[in-house]
C-alpha cells in the first residue's frame, strides 16, 4: 500500500464531486490511496505568465509546502502531491519548476509563508493521478481489477490543453498522447480517435464570451460523433462543464439532438471496477450518462 498526499482543488468539492469520490474509491482498490492533505487553499487555477508577479505564485507554493509536511505522516508516501484536476496540476507543476529554478522568486515567497511558520524546501514533485496510474500502478494491475469490462462504450479521449501544455506541465507527448487511451482500453472500452483531442474548449471564456465556447464545443463533439464515439472521457472539471452544459444548451436551442455523455476517467474506472454507481454523482451531470450505461448493461 502506498499513500499519496492528495490536493483536491475547489471544483472537486463542488460540481465535480463524482470525479473525487470515484477517484478515492478506485485509488484504494489499487493500493495507491489518495489521502486529502489538510488545510489546502485554491491554487489560483491558472499560473501567471507575468514574470513580475510573485503574489500569484504564493498560493501554489503554500500548497507544496503543506503537502510536504503531510507526506511525513503518510504510509510509504513519495514526496509527491497528487491532483485530479488538470488545471491544478498544470498550475502547481509550472510554479514548482519556476521557483525551484529561481531562488530570487522563492525567497520573497518563503518570507510570506513565514507568517504561518512555513517554508517551501523545494522537495516536492507534482503528479496528476493519471501519471500515478500509468507509472506507479500500471495498466496491468488495472486490467486485473476490472470486474465489468466496458463493452460497447466507444470513448473519445479528450485531453484539452492543460494535460499537455505547456512543456513544464505536460504528462504525455503533446502531439501524440496515449495515457487516456491506454487507460480506457485496459478498462475494456473501445477507443475512438478524433483530431480535435486537444482543441481548446474555450475554457474560462464561458463566463463572459459564451459564444466562443459554444463554437468550440460544437466542433469537438461533432468530430467525435463523426468518428463513431458514444461517450467522451476527460480529466478536467472545466472541460467537463463546458462540453456537458453547452451540449445541453444546444439541445435546448434545437441545434443538436444526439448528445454525448461526458465521463471523468475515474468514473469509468469505478464502473469497470465494480464500485457502487452512486459515488459517480451522475445526477449532477447535465447529460445523464446512465441512459447509455443502462443500454450497454453496465449498470
Amino acid at each position: 500500500m502506498v499513500q499519496y498526499s492528495y490536493f483536491p482543488g475547489c471544483n472537486l468539492k463542488t460540481n465535480a464531486k463524482g470525479f473525487e469520490k470515484s477517484a478515492l474509491a478506485v485509488s484504494k482498490q489499487l493500493d495507491a490511496e489518495l489521502v486529502e492533505m489538510p488545510n489546502w487553499n485554491c491554487c489560483g487555477t491558472v499560473h501567471t505568465l507575468a514574470s513580475d508577479n510573485l503574489m500569484k505564485r504564493i498560493a501554489p507554493t503554500r500548497i507544496l509546502s503543506r503537502s510536504s509536511k503531510h507526506v511525513e505522516i503518510l504510509e510509504n508516501s513519495p514526496k509527491e502531491v497528487v491532483t485530479l484536476c488538470s488545471m491544478c496540476n498544470s498550475t502547481l507543476k509550472v510554479v514548482n519548476k519556476d521557483i525551484k529554478n529561481d531562488e530570487s522568486k522563492l525567497e520573497p515567497i518563503n518570507f510570506q509563508l513565514e507568517v504561518d511558520e512555513e517554508e517551501y524546501q523545494k522537495d516536492m514533485e507534482v503528479k496528476h493521478f493519471l501519471e500515478i496510474l500509468r507509472d506507479s500502478v500500471g495498466y496491468e494491475k488495472i486490467e486485473k481489477s476490472v470486474k465489468k469490462p466496458l463493452k460497447g462504450l466507444k470513448v473519445f479521449c479528450y485531453y484539452g490543453c492543460m494535460l499537455l501544455h505547456p512543456d513544464e506541465a505536460k504528462i504525455d507527448d503533446e502531439e501524440m498522447p496515449a495515457v487516456l487511451e491506454d487507460l480506457s482500453e485496459s478498462l475494456g472500452a473501445e477507443i475512438i480517435f478524433s483530431p480535435l483531442f486537444k482543441h481548446c474548449c474555450g475554457s474560462y471564456h464561458i463566463v463572459d464570451q459564451e459564444d466562443i465556447v459554444n463554437t468550440q464545443v460544437q466542433k469537438i463533439i461533432q468530430s467525435a460523433k463523426q468518428n463513431g464515439a458514444n461517450a467522451v472521457v476527460v480529466a478536467c472539471p472545466l472541460c467537463a462543464y463546458n462540453l456537458d452544459a453547452q451540449q445541453k444548451s444546444m439541445e435546448k436551442q434545437g441545434l443538436d439532438k444526439e448528445l454525448l455523455p461526458i465521463f471523468y476517467f475515474t468514473q469509468l474506472m469505478a464502473i469497470a471496477m465494480g464500485e457502487a454507481s452512486n459515488i459517480n454523482h451522475f445526477e449532477e451531470h447535465h447529460i445523464n450518462p446512465e441512459k447509455l450505461l443502462k443500454k450497454l448493461k453496465l449498470i
Partner: protein, 136 residues
C-alpha cells in the same frame, strides 16, 4: 490593403521593453512564420491573427496592439507556445499585453455586472481563472 505611417520612437521602444519585461521574451525572436496563428483554435475570432499581433508589438504600436481583440480572445491554451519554432512563449506575450491593459484599466470583466444566475451555476474554476485573466 492600406498603408500607414509608423513611427518607432521612445514611446514605441518603451512599449516593446515593457512587453519583454513582463513576458520575459524577446519579441524580435519571432520571424513571422505564422505557425502560431495556424494552430490557434481561435484565429477565426481574432481581428489580428497571432503573428500579426506580434508584428504590431515588434513595431511598438501600443495603441493598435491594445485595440486588437487578439489578447482577449486568447484562452491561454499554450498550443502556440509549444509549437513555436523560435521557442517563444507566445502565450506569455498575450498575457503581457493583457497585463499592460489591466494595469491601466483593471476591469475587462466587471464582476458586478455578471448575472447572479451565472455566478451561481458556473464552476468556481471558470470564475477564478476568468477573473485572474480579465481583472487587474
Amino acid at each position: 490593403m492600406s498603408y500607414g505611417y509608423i513611427k518607432i520612437g521612445s514611446e514605441e521602444k518603451a512599449f516593446i521593453a515593457k512587453v519583454e519585461e513582463i513576458s520575459g521574451q524577446n519579441v524580435y525572436s519571432c520571424y513571422q512564420c505564422g505557425k502560431c496563428s495556424a494552430g490557434c483554435a481561435f484565429s477565426y475570432k481574432m481581428d489580428k491573427t497571432v503573428n500579426q499581433f506580434i508584428h504590431l508589438i515588434q513595431l511598438g504600436q501600443k495603441e493598435r496592439t491594445l485595440d486588437a481583440n487578439t489578447h482577449w480572445i486568447c484562452a491561454s491554451c499554450f498550443t502556440c507556445t509549444v509549437r513555436c519554432p523560435r521557442e517563444i512563449d507566445v502565450a506569455a506575450l498575450m498575457e503581457a499585453v493583457r497585463e499592460i491593459s489591466l494595469r491601466e484599466n483593471p476591469e475587462k470583466v466587471r464582476i458586478a455586472d455578471l448575472p447572479k444566475e451565472s455566478l451561481e451555476k458556473l464552476p468556481n474554476i471558470a470564475l477564478v481563472s476568468n477573473f485572474r485573466k480579465k481583472t487587474g
